[in-house]
């Protein structure tokens, strides 16, 4: 599946994944949705997030990030800040995705009990569309 608006973090190279994630976070004024895992739910989630990431309301870019290996989380979580969701409370094993604001704060988490359809992924982007 073509993912034009998605950054895939390499699972086999934690250092490279961390650098890539850092550069994404350092990029100014981007709203991100990070999808965890590589099962069928995660694949649906990233496909749908990629579609919704094509939009840029008020000129603010969106980006879908795919963290296929949740083991990377410990390497990258220090780049994120507490928002509506506390970074240390996040367990990627129990989540489909999280939404990250323009100022790198985690504003939304999507539990595995949800279906990551287009509405859900749009909600993740919209609710994280803040400074």
């Amino acid at each position: 599946m073509p993912l034009n608006n998605t950054t895939i973090l390499p699972s086999d190279s934690p250092e490279e994944a961390e650098q890539l994630f850092k550069s994404l976070i350092d990029e100014k004024d981007v709203v991100c949705v990070i999808v965890f895992g590589n099962d069928s739910v995660a694949q649906t989630a990233i496909k749908n997030a990629d579609v919704r990431a094509a939009l840029s309301p008020a000129g603010f870019k969106r980006r879908a990030v795919w963290m296929q290996s949740t083991g990377l989380w410990d390497n990258v979580k220090s780049y994120l800040k507490n928002g509506a969701v506390k970074v240390n409370s996040i367990d990627p094993a129990n989540l489909i995705a999280i939404g990250v604001s323009l100022s790198d704060k985690v504003e939304m988490e999507m539990p595995t009990s949800k279906t990551p359809d287009f509405i859900a992924m749009e909600f993740a982007f919209v609710t994280s569309s803040k400074q």
Binding site: P57, A58, D117, I119, E122, T127, S129
Partner: protein, 612 residues
């Protein structure tokens, strides 16, 4: 000043038992949010949205706006035709109304600050609908609305346009279906308005909703220039009362002081009985528990003590016996027997110790339940004290409530929705025929209305068919009418006068009572329930008749006064125009606590009528 405060407080305390007023059961609830919006157009044609505490000008015109969309949801719900939650439909309605703003925000360009503002607006408008759909995903995902919205989001090439057009067509489909079902049903809508005064309630005409007769226009003047008849009567009452009390001041004060002392002493003794009773019960509970525990240990411990003493004696004897041992066969047998006896006694003591330990163990194990029982007993005792004290305080609480009711001039008893019925002249409107707005000129709803009177609006949806008949309340709210802005009143009151310099002639009394009139100016507001309904501060002029010389020749005093609590309490400063004496004054509006009707009888009146 202090000389005046004392009798005032005494009177408030004593009189509180004689005043009675209708029970108040306020109801200010609306069953459906935003179904009806009331706006008020004042006498200057300025429009105000009527909000809590729902105060309106007594001479204004009310515009009633009915949200026919909300009405549709409610009627669909009432007939069981609703397929989506009302909350969702309201959210969709709102987002569709704001879709242009959202699309504009999405396309905003320019500097970062401008775009951030637009992004905030976009999120603020879009979040409610997305949050609702996301949160209720499990219930809604199989619905047409959800499926179509999700499908619209699968195509990002059209921005948000496709989402809104889908939402619009789905919403139209739903409301068209509702309309069709509601119009096909025999359910109908009724709206009524009632004027509630001290004479009771009466339904008034609402254009478009009933065929009741429209009343003539009667404005209630904001400014009073003549003394109302009721105040003239009150002045005469005040005059009689003042003369009577002035002539019997000593006995009046003694009566009040005795009355208050008796009340305090009575309450004191009742509280003492309650507390003493509770203390005795609690003490008895604790003593009983301690005594019970003690009795279980007393016997065994006493036996053990005795056994230990015996054992000690036996051991001493045994030791002496050993010391005096002659080592004969008999002695050895005796020694062995003694040793065995000591061993047996030692075993008995051990058993006794075990037995006491077991009792102790059982008691310790049962301590939680004993403690629970004790707690229950003590809680019951404390509850009993609370109940008795509450019962003791109830009559006083009721008096305080009556006082608050009186100070709020709550002379009109609140209506309950169940107590009002639509007259047969009220239209039974099908959904399609419900007007979206109407106007009511409050000047036409009743010629005898007064500030403080209430109006109520009630809306229902009904079906009368033999099968599936129902009535659903949609709206019930009270509005209280006052004069807004500057207005005045003329009040008769009895005033306690205290000369600033010197004493009154020919009397040892520290103050004098006098009848008076006050013209008081106030500013009514639509906000602040306590200010408008209770405190009601005002400033004005007071004219009193007095007799500082005590020579039966009345004098006139003029002063300024501040009034509170619907003029029931006044404080002011004035001058006796005949003697040039200045005075402080406290005024009480009559009738207060039944004062005017229980005036001391038999004393000749010396004060001439004023203002008659």
């Amino acid at each position: 000043m202090r000389k005046i405060l004392l009798p005032l407080l005494l009177v408030l305390g004593l009189g509180a038992q004689t005043y009675a007023q209708t029970d108040s059961t306020a109801s200010n609830s609306s069953n459906v949010k935003d179904l009806i919006t009331v706006k008020e157009r004042d006498t200057n044609n300025k429009v105000h949205t009527v909000d809590k505490p729902f105060f309106v000008d007594i001479n204004s015109t009310l515009t009633i706006e009915i949200d026919t969309t909300v009405l549709l949801y409610e009627m669909a719900d009432a007939i069981g035709a609703q397929t989506y939650p009302t909350e969702l439909l309201e959210i969709i309605n709102e987002v569709l109304r704001k879709q242009q703003d959202i699309l504009t925000a999405v396309q905003t360009s320019g500097d970062r600050k401008t775009r951030l503002k637009a992004l905030d607006e976009f999120r603020g408008r879009m979040e409610p609908i997305l949050l609702y759909l996301y949160s209720n995903q499990d219930k809604l995902s199989s619905s047409s609305l959800y499926k179509e919205a999700n499908k619209a989001f699968s195509d990002s090439t059209q921005g948000y346009g496709l989402f809104f057009s889908t939402l619009n067509s789905e919403y139209k489909k739903i409301t068209d279906e509702y309309k069709s079902k509601v119009n096909a049903s025999s359910a109908y809508f009724q709206l009524g308005g009632w004027l509630n005064t001290s004479d009771g309630e009466e339904q008034f005409h609402i254009p478009g909703f009933d065929s009741l007769a429209q009343g003539a226009i009667v404005s209630i003047p904001k400014f009073t220039t003549s003394v109302p008849p009721a105040e003239k009567d009150a002045f005469n009452e005040a005059r009689n009362l003042a003369d009577s009390i002035n002539a019997n001041m000593d006995s009046f004060l003694t009566t009040i002081k005795t009355g208050v002392d008796t009340q305090i002493s009575d309450v004191e003794s009742k509280v003492k009985i309650i507390i003493d009773g509770a203390y005795t019960t609690m003490e008895s509970d604790i003593r009983s528990l301690a005594s019970n525990l003690e009795s279980k240990f007393t016997g065994p411990v006493s036996t053990l003590k005795q056994d230990l003493n015996d054992f000690k004696t036996d051991v001493v004897k045994f030791v002496n016996d050993v010391k005096a041992l002659q080592l004969s066969t008999n002695d050895l047998v005796t020694l062995a027997e003694d040793a065995n006896t000591l061993y047996q006694k030692g075993k008995e003591i051990e058993n006794m110790g075990d037995s006491i330990w077991n009792i102790f163990k059982v008691e310790v194990e049962s301590l939680p339940s004993v403690a629970t029982q004790l707690k229950t007993d003590l809680t019951n005792s404390i509850q009993s004290v609370k109940t008795q004290l509450t019962a003791l305080g109830q009559p006083y609480l009721e008096e305080v409530q009556k006082l608050m009711s009186m100070l709020g001039e709550n002379r009109v008893a609140d209506l309950k929705e169940t107590a009002v019925n639509f007259s047969s002249s009220t239209f039974e409107l099908s959904y399609a025929k419900v007007p979206s707005h109407t106007e009511i000129d409050l000047r036409r709803i009743g010629a005898d209305r007064e500030p403080g009177d209430q109006i109520y609006f009630r809306a229902v949806v009904r079906r009368d068919s033999t099968s599936g008949a129902f009535e659903k309340s949609l709206f019930w709210r009270k509005y209280t009418m006052f004069h807004m802005g500057l207005n005045n009143s003329i009040r008769a009151s009895i005033v306690f006068l205290d000369k600033v310099n010197g004493d009154f002639s020919n009397t040892s009394s520290q103050f004098q009572l006098a009848p008076s009139y006050s013209a008081i100016f106030k500013i009514g507001t639509r906000h602040g329930k306590f200010y408008n309904q209770y405190l009601t501060p005002g400033l004005g002029v007071n004219v009193a008749t007095m007799d500082f010389d005590n020579n039966n020749n009345p004098e006139i005093g003029i002063g300024v006064t501040a009034a509170f609590f619907h003029d029931y309490v006044q404080i002011g400063y004035g001058m006796n125009m005949n003697t040039n004496d200045n005075y402080w004054m406290f005024g009480l509006r009559l009738p207060l606590f039944g004062w005017a009707t229980s005036a001391v009888q038999g004393t000749p009146t010396v004060t001439p009528p004023l203002g008659n």
